[in-house]
Every structure is written in C-alpha cells, then in structure tokens.
C-alpha cells in the first residue's frame, strides 16, 4: 500500500502554499513537521481530497484519488486542525452520525464506538453534551472519529493540541499500536509529538520540502552541531554572532548557552547531542539571524 504525491502545487492568488511537492508514503508513522504557515494543512487538505491541487497528482496504490473518490475516502481517517463537532450532541450520537456517513453498518458502528470511546477514556461521559467537554476531551473525541472506520490512511493535523502530557503519551502509544498496517501522517509543529514514534520525518517550510528521512538522517544532514558553553554574562552575547542559540540559562554571573554551529565556537565548548528540534530550529531560523554558516 502506498500513497504517492507527485509534483503537487497549490496556489492561492499569488501565493504558492504548496510548491512542487513529491512524497512517497508507505505504512508507518510519518511526521510532517513545519512552522505555522509552512503549508502543512494545505497539503493535508489535498491528500484528504478536500481541496484540488493546482497541479500534480495524488495516487493511492497507483490510482488517482480524485478518480477513486468514495473508494479512497472509505479508507481515510482524518482529524482536522480545527476539529468541528456538534455542541448539543453527546459523543455517542456524534460518533453514530460520523459512522453513518462513513458507511459503517450500525451493528459494527455500535461496537466500534464503544471500543474507541473506551480507548480515548470518554466512555464514562458518553451521554454528556460535547459542549461541556474540556479541550483535551474534545480532541480525544476527534481522534476517535478519525479511527471509526479503521482507516488504512490516517491523517492527523495537530492532533495533540489541548492534550496534557499524560494524554500526549497515551496518544503516542495508541498511534504506535496502529502503525504496522497503516499510513499514519502526523502533521505538527511540536517536535516531541513525532520525535520518538515517527519512522520518517518530512520537514516543510514555505510550501517546500526541505528534507525528509529518519530523525538520525535529518540530524546528519544539517551542517551544524550542538555545543554547550558555560561563560560569563559579558562574553555570552558575543556567541550569538557565531551560531544559532537554542537555549540559554543564566545562573548568577554565568550563563550556560546551547548553540548550533559548524565548529566549536570556543575552546571550552562541549559537544551536545543534536535533536530533531535542532533540525527544526535550523531550518526555520530567521534570515536576519547572524549566522556563521550562511
């Protein structure tokens, strides 16, 4: 099973939200990482057939998804960034309705709804109106509706927004348990959501793909390394000219700086392990940032 995006572009007036993107997606968890406005949601909307591309094609098992139509959407589960719900319905009725438009047989739907509500810890409140739910509960309901039809392709746009750390952890566990036979695309700007569970990361910026691969591959591909330096406050500001500061921690007269640059910026700099967040920060740095490499 594979989903191929071939030279996809989407233009709005004079803005190219998605700019000639080609990706091949296979079963597993794929993290789509990019800052706000990178074009992730637009890309996802094309993949979910909500929006037609200006140019390019999306092929599911070598067939155009716009020709497959309902057949494609039948294997799709989607959680939008701005998840919508009916405030005056309860989760049972809401999922019952979604199940009906996903063409799930009522007897099957009943069982699925119970299993999913239990999996997302909403079974106890199944008869409560959704408008009384917290943000996290609503998000969990959104995840449940995306999984209703046991989709082969699961696309989740900012799925962990509103979830507390424990909920995020449970969510990651849930996804990991599903990943073996599904294409799961997780779009987020929160690095930790994908860092430990994604098999593949796609980095997106201003409509283009900057890089893609495993976390290790992405880290290897950036031309900088992470360094930690403990220095006094007067010297600390000068390091900003040498590289990209990822964190700084002031303690008394000293400051511990974590910096990304090609070579050790100082004789006392100690190498630190690069993370996916460093990759993200590197690619999303402002052009105005003084930077040795560029």
């Amino acid at each position: 099973m594979e989903l191929n995006l071939l030279d996809l572009t989407k233009e709005f007036s004079d803005i190219k939200a998605v700019d000639h993107i080609s990706i091949n997606l296979r079963p597993g968890i794929i993290g789509l990482l990019g800052e706000n406005g990178a074009g992730k949601t637009t890309l996802i909307r094309m993949m979910t057939s909500l929006m037609k591309p200006s140019t390019g094609k999306i092929l599911f098992n070598d067939q155009d998804i716009y020709k497959l139509n309902e057949e494609y959407r039948n294997v799709l589960g989607y959680l939008p960034q701005d998840f919508g719900y009916y405030p005056d319905l309860n989760p049972l009725d809401y999922l019952g309705y979604i199940a009906s438009i996903k063409a799930i047989q009522p007897s099957v739907a009943k069982r699925r709804i119970k299993d999913l509500l239990q999996a997302v810890s909403l079974w106890e409140v199944r008869k409560k109106k959704i408008k009384k739910f917290s943000g996290g509960m609503i998000q969990r309901l959104g995840i449940a509706q995306a999984l209703l039809n046991d989709p082969k392709i699961l696309i989740l746009d900012e799925p962990t927004s509103g979830l507390d750390p424990e909920e995020r952890y449970r969510f990651r566990q849930l996804l990991s348990s599903l990943a073996s036979d599904k294409i799961i695309l997780l779009s987020t700007h929160i690095v930790s959501d994908v860092e430990h569970i994604a098999d593949q990361i796609i980095l997106m910026h201003k409509g283009k793909i900057l890089d893609s691969g495993s976390v290790d591959e992405l880290i290897q591909n950036i031309p900088v390394r992470a360094w930690k330096i403990k220095t006094d406050l007067t010297k600390a500001s000068s390091f900003k000219l040498n590289g990209l500061i990822t964190s700084s921690n002031k303690t008394g007269d000293n400051e511990v700086i974590r910096i990304l640059c090609k070579d050790a910026p100082d004789s006392e700099a100690v190498p630190d392990e690069c993370t996916l967040e460093d990759v993200f920060l590197f690619y999303n740095r402002k052009k105005s940032e003084p930077y040795v490499i560029l």
């Binding site: 979910t48 057939s49 919508g84 405030p87």
Partner: protein, 411 residues
C-alpha cells in the same frame, strides 16, 4: 443518517424554541377563533367561546336546507317581521342593547343574509343593511342577480379578454342552483384563518431549515464530512430528505391539528356547501367547488408553497454558508411580494408579482376573484400554473443543490 440529521437539528435550543413558537401560534389561533365566536342572547347579552358555538350552531341549523327562492322569501319575510316588531330600531342605531336584541333574532340566518346582500348588490359595494330594504317578493331574482351582476362586471371590464369573459359566463351557467345550505361556521373560519397560519408555518419551517447546511460550516464539521466516503453524497441526500420530511411533516401536523380543533369545535357540517355560500370565498367566485374542496385546494397549494420555500432556504443555506442570510431571504420572499401589490399599478409587473410563490400561501384570493389567465386562448387558473411550476422548480433546486454538494471542495 436521516435520524441523526433530525437529531442534530432538534438538539439545538433554537430549533426547540421555533417548534414551541409554532405550537403556540397554532394554539393561540385556534383559541382566538373559538373565543371570538359570539352568540347574542335574546336579552342582548353575549356568550362567547364553546357555549356561543353551541347556541349559534343551533340557531343557524334551523335554516339548513336547499336555498330555493321560497327559502329566500322566507328569510326576507322573517327579516321584515323582526324589523316590524322592533320599530325603534334602525340600521346603524347607537342603542347597542336594542341592536343586540334585534341581532339575536337575526343571527340564525346571518349566513343567508350575507348571500342575499351579495346577490342584490349586483357586484357593487357591500351593504350589510341592504336586506332590510328588500321585500319578500324580490326573492325570485336571488340567483338571476348573480348572472346579471356578472354581465355588468364583464361589460364594464376592459382588461379581460373575450376568452376569459366567455369562460366566466360558462362557469356561472354551469353552477348548479339552488344551493344546498348547511350551518358551516367551521369551514368559514378555516377559510379565513388558514392563510395566516400557512404563512407563519412556512416562515418557521424556513427558519428551522435555514441552518440545515450552514451549521456544518459554522461548527467546522464540514471538513470531516467532506473527507468521509458518503459525506458529499448520502450525507447531502439525508439533509435534503430531512428538510423535506420536516417541511411536509410539520405542515401536515399543524394544518391537520388546526383543522381538527376548529371542525371538532364548530362541527364538520357544511363541508359540501357550494363555495359561493362561504363569505370568505364569495358569492362571485367562478370556482364551482364545495367548501371541503376549497380547503383542499388551499392546503395543497400551501404545501407546494412550503416545499418551494424550503428548497430555496436549503439552497441558500448551502451556498451562503450562513443561517442568517438563508433566514432573511426566505422571510423577505414570503412577505415582501404581497406587500408590493399594494403599490404596483395594474400592469404586467403586477401580474408577475401575483404569481410569485408567496401566492401559494394565499390561494383563497385566487378562489375569490376573477383571476384566471388567458394564455394563448387557454383559460387557466394561476393556481394550477403555480402549483405545477413551483413543485417542479423545488425539485430542480434540490437536484442542483445535490449536484453542487457532490462536487464540493474547499477553496
């Protein structure tokens, strides 16, 4: 899916309030018509409500029968006898007690009095006291006056074509006399009050349906719906079905309930009286139908009116993505055209305004007047044209809506 569409709609407080409002209007209208029925007792005091209905029915039923010229003579004689026995009374007297006492004796033949007044005015101004100036010997011209009045009207009318005039003459000649008259208070009240109830019902149905499609945009559920396998197809069909079911269901329930309350209270008598005996359709009506047929026509045309406005509202709700716009457009389309007829001079524009779909909610006006059209020599009622056209149009609108929704994508 249909079940969930209805559940979504009625889970909202606004929808429940609209239904409550409609129910209140229905109850209020029924109670108003019952309570505003008066019976004047011989001592000049009035009863109202159920007891008035009971007494009035007794009084009027005494005059049930075939309206032969002999019967008309009987009524005229009775009227003269009452006036003679109350010499202090004169039409327009300020002595209310006296006027009430006289009326208490006359109210039994009040319906026949109206027919006599309409007959002898010869299509002129209506005069409630005309009967007081008629002698029993004049009864023989009761039915002839209708033909004569028509000829006077057609003779002075320059707007009707020869075909239309011939048609009206034919209709009048084919009208079977003498007429059967039975106490028919319930049917008269229905004829008078149904149009306003139809208008209010259709407004509330339209307000209910105004959010049927736009709610998906407001709640942002639309992105999920469009990504599902049946969101565009069966999802849309289920919304349209819900809309149609609500329209037909609510309209039928409201009308049936109202009719049952009114006829249950006033009696079912008079169903087969000719429409010309019904004061609210009128002596001059060229429609050779009975009361029950007239109400049937009003109900059917009202239903078609409800369907066309529902279709338009659903379409606007879908296209505009706004409940407010859908509600406002429906509201204006229902109310504005009829108001405009007060200001538009006789012209083709007026003819056009008079066949807009709001007229389906006021089909009594079509039954009362000389409204038949001459289209290339064929004489046809605008009601027939409107019923067929707007029914067809509502289907086309819904088909178009479905086709748009099937191909929808986000911009």
């Amino acid at each position: 899916m249909l079940f969930y569409e209805l559940k979504k709609l009625f889970s909202r407080t606004g929808s429940k309030l609209l239904l409550l409002l409609l129910g209140s209007i229905l109850i209020f209208t029924a109670i108003y018509n019952i309570q505003s029925t008066h019976y004047v007792q011989p001592d000049g005091t009035s009863l109202s409500g159920i007891s008035a209905i009971r007494e009035l029915k007794k009084a009027k039923s005494q005059w049930n029968g075939i309206l032969t010229e002999e019967q008309i003579k009987n009524v005229l004689q009775t009227n003269q006898d009452i006036l003679a026995s109350n010499p202090e009374y004169y039409p327009g007297t300020t002595d209310i007690n006296l006027a009430n006492k006289v009326y208490s004796q006359e109210q039994g033949y009040d319906d026949i009095r109206d027919m006599i007044n309409q007959s002898y005015r010869l299509f002129g101004q209506f005069d409630y006291y005309l009967i007081d100036r008629l002698s029993p010997n004049q009864s023989s011209s009761f039915y002839k006056n209708r033909i004569e009045g028509l000829e006077n009207f057609l003779g002075s009318n320059k707007e009707l074509t020869d075909n239309q005039k011939e048609y009206y003459r034919k209709q009048y000649q084919e009208n079977q006399t003498p007429w059967q008259y039975t106490y028919q208070e319930g049917w008269e009240i229905l004829t008078n009050s149904l149009p306003i109830l139809q208008v209010l019902s259709v407004i509330i149905i339209s307000l209910l349906l105004a959010s049927l499609f736009s709610y998906e945009d407001k709640t942002r559920v639309k992105t999920i719906l469009l990504s599902t396998c049946q969101g565009r197809s069966k999802g849309t069909l289920s919304k349209i079905s819900a809309g149609l079911l609500l329209t037909v269901g609510i309209y039928t329930i409201v009308m049936s309930t109202y009719i049952l309350i009114i006829l249950g209270g006033f009696g079912f008598d008079g169903a087969f009286n000719p429409a010309q005996t019904n004061f609210f359709i009128g002596w001059e009506s060229p429609w050779n139908i009975s009361n029950i047929q007239a109400i049937g026509i009003m109900l059917i045309s009202g239903l078609i009116g409800a369907l066309i406005f529902s279709s338009i509202t659903m379409f606007i709700s879908y296209k505009s993505k706004s409940t407010v716009i859908a509600s406002t457009v429906a509201f204006l389309l229902i109310l504005i055209p009829d108001w405009l007829t007060n200001y538009i001079p006789n012209s083709s524009l007026l003819t056009l305004v008079k066949i807009l779909p709001d007229q389906l909610l006021n089909s009594r006006a079509q039954l009362s007047g000389f409204t038949f059209l001459d289209i290339q020599g064929i004489i046809i009622s605008p009601l027939v044209i409107m019923t067929i056209s707007y029914f067809t149009l509502s289907i086309l609108i819904l088909i178009l809506l479905y086709r748009f929704a099937r191909r929808e994508s986000l911009k």
